[in-house]
Subunit: 158 residues, 2 copies
Amino acid sequence: MQVEYINPFISALKNTFQTMLTCEARRVSLAVKSSPQATHDVSGVIGLSGRAVGTVVVSFSAEVALEAASTMLMMEATELDDDVLDAVGELTNMVAGAAKAELEEYELSVSLPNVVTGPGHEVHFPSEVTPISIAFDTDWGPLSLDVGLTAIREPVVM
Amino acid sequence: MQVEYINPFISALKNTFQTMLTCEARRVSLAVKSSPQATHDVSGVIGLSGRAVGTVVVSFSAEVALEAASTMLMMEATELDDDVLDAVGELTNMVAGAAKAELEEYELSVSLPNVVTGPGHEVHFPSEVTPISIAFDTDWGPLSLDVGLTAIREPVVM
C-alpha cells in the first residue's frame, strides 16, 4: 500500500473526533499491521471499492465507544447496546467518507458500516493486502485505525 | 429488504460449496435476523456498494472452515491459521461475486473480504438495515449466511 493512501484516513479520524466529539485523537504509532492483530472491544468495519478495494477498521476501546456515543446521543451510555454500536458505525462511516473525498482519483464508494463485538475478536485482512495500523490515544482511552487498500491498476470494462 | 435480493445469495452459497468443495449446503432456516446475533467461529465479511449498499457475512463453524480449507488447499488444515482464514475469505468473495452477477441491475461492486475471529464474536448491522439470516447444514457441520442490503433509490450524481 502506498503511503499517500493513509494520510487522508488519519486526518479524517482526527477531524471526525474533533468536530463530532470535541475530542482530540493523538496519533501514538503507525505500523505495518502484522498477525496476530490486536483490536479493542468494538470495531467498526467498512468496505471500500472503486479503482482501489479495501477496508477501514476503526477499533474502539469500550470506554471510548461509551464516551463517544454519550456525546453523540446527548445521554449517558453505560453499556455497549445497539445505540452505542450504531454510534460506532456512524463514526466509522464518517471517517471513511471524509477519506474517500480526499482520495477522489480512486472513485471510491463505501459499503455500510458493520460493527464487530466480542472479547478478543480479530479482523483479518486478506494475505495479499498489507494493512497499516495507526494507534491513537484520547483523554477517554485508546483506539486504533487499520486501513488496507489495494489499487486496481486498470478499470475493468465489462 | 426485498426478497428478490436474498435468493441470489442463497444459490450463490449452495453453488460455491458444490463447485469448489463438492459439499452440499442444505438450507435449514431463513429468518429476519434479530439481536443478539449468533454467529459461528469464523466469519467472512464483505461490503457491497452501488445502487444498493450492504454487507454479506458468511459465518463458518470451525469444523466447516477446516474441512473447506483442507479441500481448497489440498492439505489437511488442523487449526484456524492464516491459510484457513484466507480460504474463508475467498469463499465469501465467491459467494458475493456470484450473487452480484445475478443482481446486475444494482451495479454492485464488492470490497475485499475480511475475516473475523474470536469466540462469541458478533457482526452487527446498522439498525436501519434488516438483515436476513439463513442457516445451512453440511456433512461437515453448520454455517450461516447473513445479508443486509438497502437499495439506493436514485443514483447520486456528484
